[in-house]
């Protein structure tokens, strides 16, 4: 047994290692996704593939890849066959524990006294992984082969020496290989920093003390989670929701979950969810597990450390070949949309059991807008990509936040001035959508509206919307939030409704695209909304007097 003080100091040291590795990777990478959106994670993993510590700013979905990657590495290579200085890479969701191809995963064994003591791992979203479209994230593809290069678990370094044949193969298959090379080396540098620091730590404490501490850190987190889960009355909880569509013609895609809670554990069974779809929103089962873990942690104990102890209390199952447990060669680039819906389902299922912790459905999407064209000033092709936030759900004690990223995503917007300096575009307005939050004792947050038009040229708009048909639901009598939509404003000012996942819509300089993201559901009976809150809704102008009269007749 390690005493709680030494354990805290070791735990602190491990988090310090992952945080430093995280910063080192961010600092030396090329991809905007890593540098500025921080779409990367670092972790320390034990000999059995269990997650011991993860960098503080790591993304929830990356928990799945760390776990998946190590399972794949250990299944393929015996620990006794590993050498000091080996580094493994992989990205494939179907055979190597990834969740989508742009996330490139790396793992390095850390040797102490001639034996593997642990692994350091990292994940980074590369700006391109090859495939049919630049960025390796586009819709319209039906198979993973089209989405990009699939990498099983392979050694990129052997005994500290780069395996050049492999590296040449990897780089030949991506766009702008020089930049990707920089990203690979950033990940390698991050691994090596983690390795060095972990060895220093082993020198100070001895590897026995450290491996014992690993066990205890995970055990303590697991016990903490078990206690937290103990606050949910044991029982079985179900919820069903639907995705709008997959972008390739499949609509009304059910996501169904049955949660069985008891003995400090939660079993999540997704039987009844849709078969996998042609479009690219399919998820692997480890992604579903990480998403359920996010939802449970967020509901019960947001500050619990991110380690195996969180995952260990959750069992996830789904029939193979479903949208939450897809089989090869399903396309997976936009799996984040299904993740968002899984979060809504888990919260929806548990809401009756833990009403004060639950929140109404948030905008439930990862609304994406892409405008591209040829800049008339430079004759160069440009691609402007952005993900937009929306409403956050009403809560037991307060309104949902207006215009914000929700659940598994938390990326910044691009400043209006940056957009206009960088691209031949004009942002006409950017604001909250009146009346878009569902009424309730505590109302849902408002969606966002952004109006953009091309300047001096013809541009092409593509987008991905969700909860454009199935509104974010209210909770305990709260009303639904308003769904989102994409529209094109015509020269005469009239509006044409676009698809939910429009591809290649032409925009002339006298047209504009009007993007509206979903609001969020309200919480509790609107009749119980305080007069001062209704007054605030009116004064702020966030709600029209018509809406307020209708939603709160007595108010």
């Amino acid at each position: 047994m390690t005493d709680p003080i030494t354990l805290e100091i070791i735990h602190n040291g491990l988090r310090s290692i992952t945080d430093e590795s995280f910063i080192a990777l961010m600092k030396s990478a090329y991809s905007t996704n890593i540098k500025e959106r921080r779409d990367h994670s670092c972790a320390v993993i034990d000999l059995h593939g269990r997650l011991i510590a993860q960098a503080e700013n790591s993304l929830p979905i990356h928990l799945a890849s760390m776990w998946g990657l190590m399972t794949a590495v250990l299944a393929k290579v015996k620990v006794s066959d590993m050498n000091e200085g080996d580094i493994f890479v992989a990205n494939d969701p179907h055979v190597a524990g990834g969740t989508h191809l742009p996330d490139l995963n790396m793992a390095m064994p850390v040797f102490v006294d001639g034996k593997v003591m642990a692994f350091v791992c990292n994940i980074a979203h590369h700006a391109d992984m090859g495939g049919m479209a630049p960025g390796s994230m586009a819709g319209g593809m039906r198979e993973i082969y089209q989405e990009g290069l699939r990498i099983p678990v392979v050694r990129l370094f052997r005994k500290g020496e780069i395996v050049q044949d492999i590296f040449d193969l990897l780089l030949l298959n991506v766009r702008v290989p020089d930049e990707r090379k920089g990203d690979y080396f950033a990940q390698v540098a991050s691994c090596r920093l983690g390795e060095r620091r972990l060895k220093e730590m082993a020198q100070r404490y001895g590897s026995d003390v450290l491996t014992t501490a690993f066990e205890e850190i995970v055990a303590r987190t697991r016990q903490r989670m078990e206690r937290a889960i103990g606050s949910i009355p044991p029982g079985t909880y179900r919820f069903a929701d639907r995705m709008d569509d997959d972008g390739l013609g499949m609509v009304d895609i059910p996501i169904v979950v049955e949660l069985t809670v008891g003995n400090g554990r939660i079993r999540a069974d997704f039987t009844g969810s849709a078969p996998e779809v042609d479009g690219n929103i399919n998820l692997k089962i480890n992604g579903a597990g990480a998403t359920v873990a996010y939802a449970i942690k967020a509901l019960l104990d947001p500050d619990v450390p991110n380690n195996q102890g969180v995952l260990d209390v959750i069992d996830v199952s789904a029939p193979e070949g479903t949208v939450v447990n897809c089989a090869p060669p399903a396309a997976t680039a936009a799996r984040a949309h299904v993740c968002q819906r899984i979060v809504d389902c888990v919260i929806g299922a548990l809401a009756p059991a833990i009403p004060t912790l639950a929140v109404a459905a948030a905008n439930g999407a990862n609304t994406t807008a892409v405008l591209s064209g040829i800049d008339p000033a430079t004759r160069q092709r440009y691609v402007y990509l952005e993900t937009l936030g929306g409403g956050f759900g009403g809560r037991a004690t307060k309104d949902g936040k207006d215009g914000v990223q929700v659940h598994i995503t938390n990326t910044s917007n691009l400043p209006v001035e940056a957009i206009e300096m960088e691209y031949p575009l004009r942002v006409e307005s950017y604001g909250l959508i009146e009346d878009s939050g569902g009424a309730g004792t505590f109302r849902g947050g408002l969606g966002l509206r952004r109006v953009v038009k091309p300047v001096g040229h013809e541009a092409v708009f593509s987008g991905t919307g969700e909860r454009f048909r199935f509104a974010p639901w209210g909770l305990f009598g709260g009303k639904d939030g308003k769904p989102g939509r994409f529209q094109r404003r015509e020269p005469d000012g009239s509006l044409t409704l676009l698809d939910n996942k429009p591809a290649e819509v032409t925009l002339t300089p006298d047209q504009a695209v009007v993007m509206e993201t979903p609001g969020a559901g309200g919480y509790g009976d609107p009749a119980k909304r305080g007069a001062d809150a209704i007054e605030r809704d009116a004064t702020s102008g966030k709600f029209s007097s018509d809406y307020l009269r209708q939603a709160y007749p007595k108010g």
């Binding site: 600092k27 905007t32 540098k35 209006v416 909250l432």
Partner: protein, 680 residues
Amino acid sequence: MSWFIGVDVGGTFTDFHCLNELTGEAFVHKAPSTPDNPARAIVNGVEAVAERLKIDYAQLRRLAHGTTVATNALIQRRGGKVALVTTKGFRDLLEIGRQIRPHMYSLQEDHPEPLVPRHWRFEVAERMTAQGTAETPLDEKDLSKTAEAIKAAKVDAVAVGFLFSFLNPEHERKAAEALAKALPGVHISRSSEVQPEFREYERFSTTVLNAYLQPVLARYLADLGDQVGKLSDKIQIGINQSSGGLMSIGRSHRFPVRTALSGPAAGAVGAIHVAKLSDRPNVVTLDMGGTSADVALIRDYATDTAHDRQVGGFPVRLPMIDINTIGAGGGSIAWFAPDGLLKVGPTSAGAVPGPACYGLGGREAAVTDANLVLGRLSQRGLLDGKVALDEAASRKALQPIADRLGFSVERTAHGILAIVVANMVRAIRTVSVERGHDPRGYALMPFGGAGPLHATDVARSLGMKEILVPPAPGILCAQGLVVSDLKEDFVRTRRTPVTAAEAPAMTKVIAELSAEADRWLDAEGVPSGDRVATLTLDMRYVGQNFELPVKLPSAALPDAKQLARLFAAVHELSYGYANLDAPIEVINFRLTAGARRPEAKAPAASKAPAAAPTPVGRRPVYFRWEAADDTPVYRRDALLPGHRLQGPAVIEQLDATTLLYPGDSLVVDAAGSLLVEVQP
């Protein structure tokens, strides 16, 4: 004879550092703060100092002042009522911000509500383009309607923020003038003046904060000016800015937001001063007080400048000394997390009730309690016994934790200190890695009341070999104020490719900045021979979204090739790689202007030290938890240049206690600082 006085107003104490400009003679003073009216403690203190030094008020030349009035007003939300006037279509921008949540996993935490409620955010038809041309003219009718509405709202201040005003301030200027005319007595801040920089949300947020603070600062500064003026009309008052330079009262009225982080900035300036006197160009500072610790990296006697900080939950974009703050201080409380691990901080017992040993009703064990039971702090108390410490109370507070751990109180206390040290070590590592530096090549300079108590453990964990304890660690901020310069930052955002063809355009921007700086220097009465200026370009590779500041070797613009090389060097240091062939662009041109001060010189080494210093007493001190070492206690003022000590030892002075561990040794250098050699 002329004296400079630095005054640092803290939550509990107001510190004074007085320096005779000619003789280098220095004097320090500490007085209780008067939070209801901070000016009172300042004036009382100045009177006390003048009496002690037997000087006439006319001999006081400059009063440099670091103030927390703005910071506190913000934290306590006591600023003015503010309206915002902005470009049509964008009144929600201030509320949306960057559309992110403060905590990835929390379903309950939100960023704070904006300081301007939505119904006081007014839109006016106007539009500038990314080229700085007016696409839609300013709608005067909209504007006068808005002025009427604002008048009816009875606000104290108005912020004006239009898109692309950093490129062309014409519309903002016109609007601000019209509003000033229509709204007599109302403070007006416009974004093109507060911080004319690219990225609208951060610029508007900074401008709104400025407007919010204007009414509070205006009242305070008027009061301070009056009261100090009564003593003597010769005293020049300088207000410290977050960038580490002084500004006049007049400018502070207009730009109060620039004082929001002035306290820690003064500490860094003081640390640079001390580092110079001791010939230590590379230093990590650790300013540990009651509630938090500030960490900064000094390289070649200079700190980095940061531009983005959160203050009171809001983003501020202004030049600031790059300082990282963590919740680790003498008042940090020990507690058990739900997983049973022992944690220390960030919650602090503050000054009231304070740690249990203060006897003011604090029941929870804090870092100071741990130091007391281990004999590291004297039972006589702080400030030469003015603040008595009750060891029994500390033991009582620590006992439940010790019981739960099954440890002795001493082992528990030792563990608490180890945890608070681990927290600081983690912060220093993060800051160093982020800046591309290895702390092992640096000396550690602890200051603040609690810094020197914990420095050895921090240094040892980081592999740092030397600790530099300043002569007066508890009032280094006030000392930094005395040695601060008049300083002002000027900026222009002009996105310009780094090519030979663009050189004339760049030279023109720099000339504009220089002219602006000269106007300011004229107004401040700085003689031309004393003027200094540095030019910094914020540059990036074309396609990147964030810039890196590149300090130029002189105020003249180097050619494009040289600029590319300078940028590559900075990129290499920050990100670990550089590409000499990739196209580069400048986003911001920054000019920092100021008045030169005479270089710091160490006081002439006084006579060789007499006999070895004699301890004033001995007490058992637990350096290890297992057993106490019988340890000599020295008075700091008995340690003279040239003296050497071998650990264990405790060195006490008015405002700080320094620990010398068994096996470590120290020497007092010519400047009176303690240089501790740390055994690995």
